[in-house]
C-alpha cells in the first residue's frame, strides 16, 4: 500500500526584491510504500532539507502535490496543520530539538499532551512501553542537559514514536552523534522499521543510508537515481551507495 506520494514537487525561492530566483526543487517525484525504510541522499544544497520541510508541511511547494495516506497536504487548512503534523508525522532532528525545560519523560509526552485527548494512564502506558523498547526507562526523569547525545536522540525517537505516526521523518539523525551512538541508533531504526513503521530519512552519511531498504539520490533539485536493497547485506548496500556517489561526483549522467 502506498503511504506517501510525492508528485512533481517544485520549489522556487525568490530573493527579497524579486530580482533573483533560485530553483531548489525542480520536480521531485517518488512514492513510499507502507512499512518501507527510505533514505534520501544528496549533498549540501541539493534540496534535501527543502524537500523534508515540504513533506513535514512546514513549507509549501511552489508546484506539485504531496499525498500522505490519501490526504493532500496543500488541501489542509493552515489552522489544522499543527494538528495534522502532530497526529500523522513523527520527527527526529539532527539537533534533537528536545526542550531544555522538560525532563525526557515530559519531552516524550509533549505531543500527546498537546493533543489533549488521551488519559494520563494511557499516555504513561505508551511511554513506558516505548521507553523500555528504546532502553531509556532508567533516565526518563533526567533533563536533556544531563544525558549523552545518543540518549537524547533516543528520547527524540521516542517522542516521534509515541503518537504512533504514519510516517517518521528523520533529518540527519546521526549527524550530531559519535560513531558508536550512530550505529546504535541505526540499529534501532531498523528494528522499528521491522515492526512496521514507515521511515523516511534524509542523510548524507553512507553508513546511515546503508541501513535503509531503498536509497534515493537527489542532485540539483531532482531525483537522480535510486537503489533498492534487494537481498544485499548492509555492507553490500554500503558499497553500492559509495559507487553511486562516486559516479555522481565524477559527473555521470545516468538516469
Amino acid at each position: 500500500m502506498e503511504i506517501l506520494n510525492v508528485n512533481d514537487i517544485r520549489k522556487t525561492y525568490t530573493s527579497r526584491f524579486g530580482a533573483q530566483q533560485v530553483q531548489a526543487l525542480k520536480g521531485v517525484t517518488f512514492s513510499v510504500e507502507k512499512g518501507e525504510y527510505v533514505a534520501i541522499m544528496g549533498e549540501s544544497g541539493s534540496g534535501k532539507t527543502t524537500l523534508l520541510n515540504i513533506l513535514a508541511a512546514l513549507d509549501k511547494p511552489t508546484g506539485g502535490k504531496v499525498i500522505l495516506d490519501g490526504m493532500e497536504l496543500s488541501g489542509i487548512k493552515e489552522s489544522e496543520l499543527a494538528v495534522f503534523r502532530r497526529n500523522n508525522l513523527g520527527f527526529v532532528f539532527q539537533e534533537f530539538n528536545l526542550l531544555d525545560t522538560f525532563s525526557l519523560k515530559d519531552n516524550i509526552l509533549l505531543p500527546l499532551v498537546l493533543g489533549g485527548e488521551m488519559k494520563l494512564a494511557e499516555m504513561t502506558g505508551r511511554l513506558n512501553e516505548i521507553a523500555s523498547r528504546l532502553g531509556i526507562s532508567e533516565i526518563l526523569n533526567k533533563y536533556p542537559y544531563e544525558v549523552s547525545g545518543g540518549q537524547k536522540q533516543r528520547a527524540a525517537v521516542a517522542r516521534a514514536l509515541i503518537t504512533d505516526p504514519k510516517l517518521i521523518l528523520a533529518d540527519e539523525p546521526t549527524g550530531a552523534l559519535d560513531s558508536r551512538s550512530s550505529s546504535d541508533l541505526l540499529q534501532m531504526f531498523s528494528q522499528i522499521n521491522r515492526n512496521g513503521q514507515t521511515i523516511l530519512m534524509v542523510t548524507h552519511s553512507v553508513d546511515a543510508a546503508s541501513h535503509a531498504g531503498r536509497v534515493l539520490f537527489i542532485r540539483d533539485g531532482v531525483v537522480f537515481h535510486q537503489i533498492y536493497r534487494g537481498d544485499c547485506s548492509n555492507e553490500q548496500l554500503y558499497r553500492k551507495i559509495s559507487d553511486t556517489l562516486t559516479l555522481l561526483r565524477t559527473g555521470g549522467d545516468k538516469q
Binding site: 502532530r86 520527527f91 531544555d100 515530559d106 499532551v113 498537546l114 542537559y145
Partner: protein
C-alpha cells in the same frame, strides 16, 4: 585601530541595538530631567518666598537625593542589561582579532554617545518642564502664580549635568572591567548550554515567609503613631526582603508543587506554561520583585500624599474650633505680668475687624491648662520621667476648665459636686484604651464621672499625637489643686494656665485673604495698648494662632509632599515600565528557540499564543497582586502615621488608595500591552 574607526563602529552598534539603546537613553533623559528639576526647585529663591514655600528647599533637597539614588540604580540596571545582551557580540569581536582595549574604545564611544544624548535631551526637557512644575507647585500652594521665573540657571544646570557625567563614566569603568575579565570562547557559547532546573531554596523560602510575616505583623500590631514612625522603616525593610525571597524561592516552590500534580500538569497549555514559568521565575524573580516593590512604593506615596493634601480642610476644621486665638500680656511698672482684660481685647479685635470689614461672630475668653498623664486603667497618673519611654500609647493630654468657664463658652451649666467631673475624649490614637466611665483618679485625686461630653469647647490644637481628653472641674479651688499637683510633679516642665481670646469669624475665606494685615494690625493695637498702660519699656508679648496661618504652613508642607509624591511616583512608574520592557525582550529572545521547537513537533500558532498568554498573565498579575496585598497590609501603620500628620479621615485615605490602585493598574496594563507587542514580534521571527 584608529579612533575615528572606533567612533564609527560605536555609532553603528547603537543603531543596530536600538531595541536596547533607546530605552537606555530614554531612562537617562527622564532621570536627568527630574534630577535637574528637583535640584533647581531646591535652590529657587523666588519660589521659596511664596506663601508656604519656605519648606520647599528642604523637601526638594530630600527629593533630589532620592532622585540621585534612583538614577544610580536605574542607569546601572539598564546598563547591566545592555551588557548582558551584547556579551556574545563582544566575544565575537575578540575572536575576530579585536583586542580588548579596542573593544574598550568602542565601548567608550558608545557610552559617550548615549550619555551625551541623555544629558542634553534631559536638560532640555528639564528646562522646559521646570516652568510647568513651578506653576504646578504654586497651584498646590494655592497662591498666585509668581511671574517671571527664571528657568535657566547655570548654578543648577552644571551640577546636574556633572553628576550624570560622573554616573555614566562609572558605568563605563564598570563595563570596561567586565570586558577585561571576559573569556571570548565562553562568551560565544553563552546561552547555548542547557539550564538546570532550579531547586527549591528552603532556607530562603522560610526566611522570606518569616520576614514578610514580621513586616506585616508590625504594621498590624503597632498601636501608637510615634512608634509607627520608627517601626515603619523596619517594616518596609522586612517586607522588601520578604518580597525578594518569596519571589525567588516561593514561586519555584509553588510551581514545582503544581508540576508534581500530574493531573493538573499534563494538560496542553498548563504543561508548557508551568515548566516555562519555572525557568522564567529563576531569571526574573528579582525583576518581578522589584516591580512589586516599586508598584507598592508608587501606591503608598501617591495615595498618602494625595489624601494628606485633600484632607487638609478636614484636618484644619478638626484642630481649629475657632479661627484665631490671641494671648497678650505686658509687664507693668511694678514688674508684674498683666493680662490684657477680656473686654479691652474684644474691643481691639472688633475694631480691627471692622477696619477690614470682617464680621466677627463670637469672641470668647478661654481659661484652661493642660497636663500630660499616663493612663493606667481608670487612673491618670503623673509620671515625671516621660522621656524614658517613646511609647506613647499610655500617654494622654488632659485639658482642664471649670464648670463656670464651660457655661461661659457653651451656655450650658453642668452641676458638679466637689468630687465630680465631666469628661470628653477630644481625639484619640488608634487602639487606645476606652475612656473610664464610672470613676477616675487624676494625679491621685479621685473623681466620679458625672457626665460624658460629646463636645469640648477648647480645641487641642495642632501637633497633638497623644490621646486628648477634656475635663470639666467643679470650681476654681479644685482646678488650682489639680494644677498644683502637676506643678509639683513636673517642676519647671510643668504647664501653666492659658488665657486666650478665641475669635470666630463669619466669612473665613475673606478674612484669610486679609489675614496677615489683620494680624499685623492687632499686634500694633496691642502694642499701643501696652504703651497707654505704662508697660515697662513699652514691652508686651502677643501670640496669635490663626487658622489661615496654619493653613499656609500645612499647604506648604502637604503641597511639597504631594509634588514629591507625584514626581517620585512617576519616576517609579517609569522604572516599572523599563523593567517590564527589558524583561519582555530578554525573555523573547530566550523563548524564541523553545517555541520554534514546539512548532516543529506540532504546536500550532494559536496554541503558542495561548501558552504565551498564560505565562504572561501570571507574570503580569503577580507583581500587581503582591503590590495590592502589600498596600493593604501597610494600611494600618500608614494610617497611624497619617494621624501623626494630622489626617484623621480614614475613609478619605481608603478612597485615595483605591483610586490610586485602579489608576496604577490601568497604566500598568497599557504598558504591558505595548511591551507585549515587542515580545510577540521577537518570538515569531
Amino acid at each position: 585601530m584608529k579612533t575615528g574607526y572606533a567612533a564609527k563602529i560605536a555609532f553603528n552598534n547603537i543603531r543596530k541595538n536600538y531595541r536596547f539603546y533607546i530605552p537606555h537613553v530614554l531612562t537617562g533623559t527622564g532621570l536627568q530631567a527630574c534630577f535637574y528639576i528637583m535640584l533647581t526647585l531646591s535652590m529657587d529663591k523666588r519660589l521659596s518666598q511664596v506663601k508656604g514655600g519656605s519648606v520647599l528647599p528642604f523637601f526638594m533637597t530630600v527629593g533630589a537625593a532620592v532622585m540621585a539614588l534612583l538614577s544610580v540604580m536605574l542607569i546601572f540596571y539598564t546598563n547591566s542589561f545592555l551588557m548582558k545582551q551584547r556579551k556574545r557580540e563582544f566575544g565575537l569581536y575578540n575572536v575576530l582579532g579585536m583586542e580588548k582595549r579596542h573593544i574598550g574604545r568602542i565601548l567608550f564611544f558608545e557610552t559617550l554617545y548615549s550619555a551625551a544624548a541623555s544629558i542634553i535631551l534631559g536638560l532640555l526637557l528639564g528646562v522646559l518642564f521646570y516652568k510647568l512644575c513651578s506653576l504646578f507647585i504654586c497651584r498646590l500652594f494655592q497662591t498666585d502664580i509668581v511671574l517671571g521665573f527664571y528657568f535657566i540657571k547655570a548654578n543648577t544646570l552644571i551640577p546636574a549635568a556633572m553628576s550624570f557625567i560622573v554616573l555614566y563614566f562609572l558605568t563605563y569603568i564598570f563595563n570596561r572591567i567586565s570586558i577585561s575579565r571576559m573569556k571570548p570562547v565562553e562568551l560565544l557559547k553563552s546561552g547555548a548550554s542547557g539550564e538546570k532546573e532550579p531547586r527549591t531554596k528552603w532556607i530562603m523560602l522560610i526566611a522570606g515567609i518569616i520576614s514578610l510575616g514580621a513586616g506585616y505583623y508590625q504594621s498590624l500590631s503597632i498601636k501608637d503613631p510615634l512608634s509607627a514612625l520608627t517601626w515603619f522603616f523596619i517594616a518596609v525593610f522586612l517586607v522588601i526582603i520578604g518580597t525578594y525571597f518569596l519571589f525567588t524561592a516561593g514561586s519555584i516552590f509553588v510551581l514545582k508543587a503544581l508540576k508534581k500534580n500530574s493531573r493538573f500538569y499534563y494538560h496542553a497549555e498548563r504543561m508548557t506554561a508551568v515548566s516555562g514559568l519555572i525557568y522564567r521565575m529563576k531569571q526574573n524573580a528579582v525583576g518581578l520583585a522589584s516591580i512589586a516593590i516599586l508598584a507598592t512604593g508608587v501606591l503608598i506615596m501617591i495615595s498618602s500624599t494625595v489624601s494628606l493634601y485633600s484632607g487638609m480642610q478636614g484636618t484644619l476644621d478638626n484642630t481649629y474650633a475657632q479661627h484665631m486665638y490671641i494671648t497678650a500680656d505686658y509687664v507693668d511698672e511694678n514688674g508684674e505680668t498683666v493680662l490684657i482684660p477680656a473686654e479691652d481685647m474684644e474691643g481691639m479685635i472688633r475694631n480691627v475687624s471692622d477696619k477690614y470689614s470682617c464680621k466677627v461672630l463670637a469672641v470668647e475668653e478661654q481659661e484652661y491648662f493642660d497636663a500630660v498623664y499616663v493612663m493606667n486603667g481608670c487612673d491618670f497618673e503623673l509620671v515625671s520621667d516621660q522621656s524614658a519611654s517613646t511609647d506613647l500609647s499610655g500617654l494622654c493630654d488632659i485639658y482642664f476648665i471649670t464648670a463656670d468657664m464651660y457655661e461661659d463658652l457653651t451656655g450650658t451649666r453642668i452641676a458638679l459636686e466637689d468630687n465630680e467631673i465631666a469628661i470628653c475624649r477630644i481625639s484619640s490614637s488608634i487602639g487606645h484604651t476606652k475612656t473610664p466611665d464610672k470613676a477616675v483618679t487624676i494625679g491621685g485625686r479621685g473623681f466620679i464621672v458625672k457626665e460624658h461630653l460629646v463636645y469640648f469647647p477648647i480645641s487641642a490644637g495642632m501637633g497633638n499625637v497623644v490621646t486628648c481628653y477634656g475635663a470639666v472641674l467643679p470650681n476654681n479651688e479644685i482646678m488650682d489643686a489639680v494644677f498644683a499637683d502637676q506643678q509639683i510633679a513636673y517642676g519647671k516642665d510643668a504647664s501653666h494656665y492659658y488665657h486666650r481670646t478665641a475669635v470666630t469669624f463669619e466669612d473665613i475665606e475673606t478674612v484669610s485673604k486679609n489675614g496677615d494685615d489683620i494680624q499685623e494690625s492687632l499686634y500694633r493695637n496691642i502694642a499701643d495698648y501696652a504703651l497707654e498702660h505704662n508697660a515697662r519699656n513699652g514691652e508686651c508679648s502677643t501670640r496669635v494662632d490663626s487658622v489661615w496661618e496654619a493653613k499656609e504652613n500645612i499647604l506648604g508642607m502637604y503641597g511639597a509632599l504631594l509634588f514629591l509624591g507625584i514626581l517620585l511616583g512617576l519616576v517609579c512608574i517609569f522604572a516599572t515600565v523599563l523593567i517590564i520592557y527589558y524583561k519582555q525582550i530578554s525573555e523573547g529572545y530566550e523563548d524564541r528557540e523553545r517555541f520554534q521547537i514546539m512548532k516543529k513537533i506540532g504546536m500550532s500558532d494559536a496554541e503558542t499564543r495561548k501558552t504565551i498568554r498564560t505565562q504572561s498573565l501570571f507574570i503580569f498579575f503577580l507583581p500587581l497582586i503582591v503590590a495590592g496585598i502589600h498596600t493593604l497590609f501597610a494600611f494600618p501603620i500608614l494610617n497611624r502615621m497619617m494621624q501623626l500628620m494630622m489626617l484623621s479621615s480614614t475613609g478619605l485615605y481608603i478612597i485615595c488608595s483605591v483610586i490610586t490602585y485602579i489608576v496604577f493598574a490601568i497604566i500598568y496594563l497599557l504598558i504591558y500591552r505595548a511591551t507585549s507587542k515587542t515580545y510577540y514580534k521577537i518570538v515569531r521571527l
